[in-house]
């Protein structure tokens, strides 16, 4: 793999904090996260529901439902410009052009009352108003062919309900790619699809990443999807990043107990077990844990320190970070000493 620091940083998230203001109080769905996406790479964000991964992606797009949600801190640097501070009007020029997004539900993400052609054409004409309708449709057909949609010209006149789920997701991908975005955010793009279609869509995203050099931020709860597609992975838990590592390392040597639990939870076909492994307990409500490690209550290695101090993101390797005291050298030393004593 090419060294990351040789590549250009396209998207940099610095201390991002997104809070929902509800009747039950303020809920920090995303709490002070930092990560970067480099040119041409595929980064995965993994986590359970409620970990803040979707809120992160919607924050980047400036599409947090507001009210009640709001970005309350940090920066989102796209090519060095802080788009977190942009007004909605300024963001309209960024959305779909520099950063595009595809969503989990291809069945409901396309407008049922407009033809595929109308919806694709619209996406082009918003950002290239000088194009004629004919040029826009020609571009739509070109991209539809690129994403592997058969009989593209005929599809232009079809309505979304006339297409299968896999085809609709291809249309969504085509729509996202129309204006050559620098970053493509894919929020669970295959969750609602059959396994066979899922594999096709992932392969397509890999191909497109390779051919167009579009950076992809892939949000998923499925480690299998990450393993197949990503170069780097970010693990989120309760609104925080708990581990970040290159793909090979995360499966060979997961550092954070949560990541280890996630990997263990993936069913293995080679062994038939009566009980599938699962991490005990559930994700805590965001904001409910003020001090200490948010995973402590479910962690089999939890020690006293975990509930008293909040662990920082420790360097656990060259490109590997883990938010766990087990990475703390002193902690390790003390543990070894205690072990020898006993």
């Amino acid at each position: 793999m090419e060294r990351l620091n040789m590549r250009k940083k396209l998207l940099e998230i610095k201390g991002l904090q997104t809070t929902f203001f509800t009747d039950d109080g303020q809920i920090p769905a995303v709490d002070n996260i930092d990560f970067s996406v480099y040119e041409g790479e595929i980064v995965g964000i993994v986590g359970e529901s409620g970990s803040g991964k979707s809120v992160t992606s919607l924050s980047i797009m400036g599409l947090i439902p507001s009210p009640p949600g709001k970005i309350t801190g940090g920066e989102i640097l796209l090519d060095g410009k802080n788009i977190a501070a942009y007004t909605d009007k300024q963001m309209q020029k960024v959305r779909g052009k520099d950063v595009a997004m595809i969503f989990q539900e291809p069945m409901t993400s396309l407008n049922p009352l407009f033809t595929i052609g109308d919806q694709l054409k619209e996406a082009i004409l918003i950002h290239s108003p000088k194009w004629s309708k004919k040029e826009a449709l020609a571009r739509a057909v070109e991209i539809m062919k690129l994403v592997g949609l058969p009989r593209a010209e005929a599809l232009l006149k079809d309505y979304p309900h006339q297409l299968s789920g896999g085809m609709r997701q291809r249309v969504m991908i085509a729509m996202a790619l129309l204006c050559n975005p620098k970053v493509l955010i894919a929020d669970e793009p295959t969750t609602a699809l059959d396994v066979t279609i899922q594999a096709q869509i992932l392969q397509l995203m890999k191909d497109l990443n390779h051919r167009l050099n579009t950076a992809v931020l892939l949000i998923t709860h499925d480690l299998g999807v990450v393993a197949e597609t990503c170069e780097r992975v970010i693990v989120m838990y309760a609104g925080q990043i708990v581990e970040e590592a290159p793909i090979a390392e995360i499966f060979a040597e997961p550092k954070h107990p949560y990541t280890q639990g996630l990997i263990k939870s993936v069913p293995d076909m080679r062994y038939k077990k009566d009980n599938l492994y699962s991490i005990p307990g559930t994700v805590p409500k965001p904001g409910s844990i003020k001090v200490g490690c948010r995973f402590a209550a479910r962690c089999e290695y939890a020690m006293e320190r975990c509930t008293q101090e909040t662990p920082p993101l420790y360097e656990a390797g060259e490109q590997h970070k883990s938010r766990c005291f087990l990475q703390d050298e002193q902690e390790v030393k003390q543990r070894v000493e205690r072990f020898i004593e006993s």
């Binding site: 959305r95 409901t108 049922p112 309505y159 969504m172």
Partner: protein, 334 residues
């Protein structure tokens, strides 16, 4: 589509038949005899009996009913007992007067109601939302006769801005061609009369528009709120589309079907004549035509007037049903 329309039109027959029967029996259940009403209190019994016979009202009810039905199937709506003019000739000016007022009122109701609903949903829980919904609540609750009288008092009596009764100035009557005065005055190039007719539409139009406007605003708001949470609206925003276009193109088209239903029902109701508004503003509409006929026990006018109104109501709602499939390609009629 054609098949579907055929089926729906066939369904009309039993509905209208049932309706004519009920109306026919009901008006005969009201005490009072047309002959007596025509001849007055002091008429002799013999005279009343003679007139009853010559009007054909002494025949058994089923004979009368079947004669009436036979007439309808030949396009004969009967002859008014009072004026001796065939109802089919007499009714049209009244219908046109009502239609002109009702359409004018519905245009006001739709433009203001739909937009108020959209803006309320767009800026949910804002001051505009609260204000619009409070006004809408008042709108559905306020008695029309009170509102009409208040309008007359404020804009006619106190401010003197607008005339308060009739369709046109009696000193300068409109020459009727289509009986839609706005059209007629334009056809004759009488712009001064056009303005006069338009001015006379405003007060009754507003009185009549109030309830539909309030209902439309509330339905539009709730329908829009639901649609604006949908994934495809988020997709449209993710493309970088302007909020205005997202709302008025992507969201509105999806939210409009329940609104169309309400618009259809309300238009149908208004075309049936609004007796209160027509009475307060001396509007020579179908509502007052039928109401007066009831006073005179003018059976043919009552029967046929209600039949025509019911037919229009059903047709409007059929048109609305067909519009659904124009808006939504997933709706197909077979």
């Amino acid at each position: 589509m054609i098949n579907y329309m055929g089926k729906r039109l066939l369904q009309l027959v039993p509905v209208l038949l049932g309706m004519t029967f009920i109306v026919f029996m009901l008006i005969r259940a009201i005490p009072g005899n047309p002959a007596q009403v025509i001849l007055g209190q002091l008429a002799t019994k013999e005279a009343v009996a003679a007139l009853t016979e010559s009007l054909g009202l002494n025949k058994p009810w089923y004979t009368q009913y079947f004669n009436y039905l036979a007439g309808i199937f030949q396009g004969d709506l009967g002859v008014s007992l009072r004026t001796k003019v065939p109802v089919s000739q007499e009714i049209f000016p009244y219908l046109a007067a009502t239609a002109e007022l009702a359409l004018f009122a519905m245009i006001i109701a739709i433009i203001i109601g739909v937009n108020a609903g959209i803006i309320s949903a767009w800026f949910q829980n804002s001051w505009f939302d609260y204000l619009a919904m409070v006004i809408a609540l008042i709108g559905v609750s306020v008695p029309i006769f009170w509102l009409g009288l208040m309008e007359q008092w404020v804009f006619g009596n106190q401010l003197g801005w607008l005339p308060t009764s009739g369709r046109a100035d009696v000193r300068d009557p409109v020459t009727a061609i289509t009986h839609f005065y706005l059209v007629d005055t334009l056809l004759q190039g009488r712009f001064d009369q056009f303005i006069e007719v338009l001015k006379r539409l405003i007060l009754p139009g507003i009185a009549l528009a109030t309830i539909p406007m309030a209902i439309i605003a509330r339905i539009t708001r709730s329908s829009m709120l639901e649609v604006m949470r949908s994934d495809y609206v988020r997709t449209a925003r993710a493309k970088g589309q302007k909020m205005f276009i997202v709302i008025y193109k992507h969201a509105l088209k999806n939210a409009i079907i329940p609104v169309l239903t309400v618009i259809g029902l309300q238009t149908g109701l208004l075309l049936g004549g609004a007796i209160l508004t027509e009475t307060i503003f001396s509007w020579p509409g179908i509502g007052r035509y039928i109401y007066d006929a009831i006073g005179f026990r003018d059976y043919p006018v009552i029967q046929s007037g209600i039949l025509v109104v019911a037919f229009i109501f059903i047709m409007i709602n059929l048109i609305v049903d067909l519009l659904y499939s124009v808006v939504d390609p997933r709706i197909k009629y077979k």
